[in-house]
Symmetry: C2
Subunit: 278 residues, 2 copies
């Protein structure tokens, strides 16, 4: 991979751009809907910025769409429209976007989404793939790239190898993950990330309503997670539901009568744990 | 606190015993139902062991019941029975356990449970309290005592101060927590520890059924927890439910049709998140 164009200025684009720069892989150009955002990010990594799709670098080896799920298809459509009407393009491309020209080594298109199938690219290009970092990104908080799993796929084995090699420059953990497996991973990620965070919020709400700081629960949360680094969560399960301690469960359910939705969640989680360990 | 007797040989007793030894506070005696277990633990910290309640050290300043919730009341009853019939006790104690003798500086009794009220001691002694380490313990894995919250209570302010001072030798995080607050903390702990671990198990099941290693999800889990050390879980919520992304939610629900209970959990968690962030 020689010339890379990054489309997007959000969390994923931001951290990818910084990481590419960190490992010495230059990003030729950053596209953003808002020029200011693209410029700020481009300046941080010594790259060019644009908000004009007609100005996209046309001979890049890789185009990374790091935009929100719903923006991928409209962006691809817009790129096609912009470029077929671009007088600066060679005549043979007048009815197709520049990257499907058959007479040059055209680029590969990938997106970074956990949910959108790679086949979204099919009607736009015959060179496409996936470059999905399985992590939750926050601007201002550097992710740990030494453990961050990169999920790679492409529509040919050669492209896949090429993307894997690029991925290995960013992280030692690069996996070939199919569209189906990526869909599976995304559902699982909702459980272990989104739902887990919501449980933390519920814990916080419950204790703070009784004048207790949430800080008291943080070491317990840390330890819960530390344990599964070495042991399977299946063997690490504890608590009243695991023990079948119906007296404690009843006490907790009485306590939760003021929180109807949390009461239902408690009931269903308890049921699920009991079913598993009965 | 000069002389401490520890009753119990499970996870909590084990880690308390090691910590007391580590900070130079001697445990005079360890009682266990199984002499072997008590002896093994006692030998690690240079203490005495017994499985005979008649042999309990009678002039200890503090008795710590680190036994399972259901064992507390039966153990107290047994100690009373054993000791009122003990000919070695002075005559004035013949109808009461030795520690309620009125003519000496009798000891304080505490337990380490998150759920049992301190008032369980009322009919046995007039000196009682709570010494509850808010953490999940595993034998063979040292907890981080520099952050471990110790929840202390006692039936007099003086006893409470005394227990707080003792607690501060073990951990810098010592809080006065009432019975009511401890009950609240325990419900919250079930959400953030037991239920969270079950979500990890669900994530593991889902990905392994599709031939994907659970290791791929571990960095995401680490980051989910790392974020709430600095920010409130309320502001850290992400995912399709938070965004109101019904298309993704529907896809996930179709995927989960083979997991009826997890499907219900997904639905309820999604509902709870949507209600919160609508």
């Amino acid at each position: 991979m020689k010339k890379i164009v990054l489309l997007g200025t959000g969390n994923v684009a931001h951290h990818l751009a910084l990481r590419f720069q960190e490992v010495g892989v230059p990003i030729a150009q950053i596209y953003g809907r808002t020029l200011h955002k693209a410029t700020v990010l481009a300046q941080r990594i010594g790259s060019d910025a644009t908000d004009n799709l007609k100005e996209l670098v046309q001979d890049a080896d890789l185009y990374i769409l790091a935009v929100s799920d719903n923006a991928i298809e409209p962006l691809l459509q817009e790129i096609m429209i912009q470029n077929v009407s671009d007088v600066s393009l060679p005549p043979q491309s007048s009815f197709a976007p520049f990257w499907v020209e058959q007479d040059r080594n055209f680029g590969t298109w990938v997106h970074t989404s956990g949910t959108i199938p790679s086949t979204i690219f099919e009607k736009y290009t015959s060179n496409y793939g996936i470059f999905y970092p399985l992590q939750t990104f926050t601007i201002g908080k550097e992710p740990d790239w030494t453990t961050l799993p990169l999920c790679i796929d492409a529509n040919t084995a050669a492209k896949r190898r090429s993307l894997e090699q690029l991925g290995q420059l960013l992280s030692p953990v690069v996996h070939h993950i199919t569209d189906t497996q990526r869909a599976t991973l995304h559902v699982a990620a909702v459980f272990v990330n989104n739902f887990t965070n919501h449980l933390f919020h519920i814990g916080q709400t419950i204790v703070e309503n009784d004048g207790i700081t949430f800080d008291l629960l943080k070491p317990l949360i840390q330890e819960t997670v530390a344990k599964i680094q070495l042991h399977s969560p299946e063997t690490m399960q504890t608590g009243p539901a695991k023990r079948g301690d119906t007296i404690t469960i009843e006490k907790h359910q009485i306590f939760l009568k003021h929180y109807p939705l949390y009461h239902k969640l408690y009931e269903l989680m308890t049921k699920s744990i009991m079913k598993k360990y009965k």
